[in-house]
Symmetry: C2
Subunit: 147 residues, 2 copies
């Protein structure tokens, strides 16, 4: 029944390709919206994760926002310069640094969230509730099955 792609089947039959293509497109759309605030998608993720108010270590944060450690360090440097977030040494484990969002970061985060939500609404409209939910469910379960 379900077969893997053959050597000579088009690249568009590969799950890896379809994921890359869909991700590229959706990410590009989100990027366009967030550009209103002059902020890359990754900074939205960082602010959103930190918005729970709890301190998050750089390692935790890197996992959560899908960035490598050095990339995150440098992006956080910029955000600290912009006074969006700040670092605190973790008193329980002094190897760690805990990241927090500033008031300015919280305000920006709110504006970014509404831009992101409005994108999701747009997707729901053009793609449909049913498909969207089913796709989310399948993606979650793919991620689960990959760990």
């Amino acid at each position: 029944m379900a077969k893997p792609p053959k050597d000579n089947s088009p690249i568009t039959e590969h799950l890896a390709y379809l994921l890359a293509q869909a991700n590229r497109e959706i990410n590009r759309q989100l990027e366009m919206r967030l550009s209103k605030e002059g902020v890359p998608v990754e900074q939205w993720r960082i602010l959103k994760v930190l918005s729970d108010g709890n301190g998050h270590s750089m390692g935790e944060l890197a996992d959560a926002v899908l960035l490598n450690h050095p990339t995150l360090t440098k992006m956080v440097d910029r955000m600290v310069s912009d006074a969006l977030v700040y670092r605190v040494q973790d008193p329980k484990d002094r190897r760690k640094v805990l990241m927090f969002v500033s008031d300015r970061g919280k305000a920006l985060s709110k504006r970014l969230n509404s831009l992101a939500v409005s994108q999701e609404e747009h997707i729901l409209e053009s793609y449909g509730d049913k498909s969207t939910n089913e796709l989310k469910r399948l993606l979650e379960s793919l991620i689960d099955s990959s760990n």
Copy 2:
């Protein structure tokens, strides 16, 4: 019924995030396999697309392999150095360059294809035929609905 995420809902409820996460994971796995041949995922895509034997312009190719034009130009430069592909000026339209795969490129492409196929087989096993096919179908239709 199906609602978009709220401002304060976790980032994991956003389609954009789930796509990025799944793409990152699957891409990383593919990258691992292809590293046996010392080749990045993008070069597999390029070789696969060119393997139809027809010449493809840089613009076409950039779209097909999900790369920006300058990035593609530079990657193709490397592949030309490695004698995997070659450029031919399009006689019909001399602004264009047609890309072709060399014999060496074809041989490499075959080896890369089996690595990629074996990854798909692995996904089918752990994730299931049904889910895989359904996910592919939904991704295709998401991409369609985004154009």
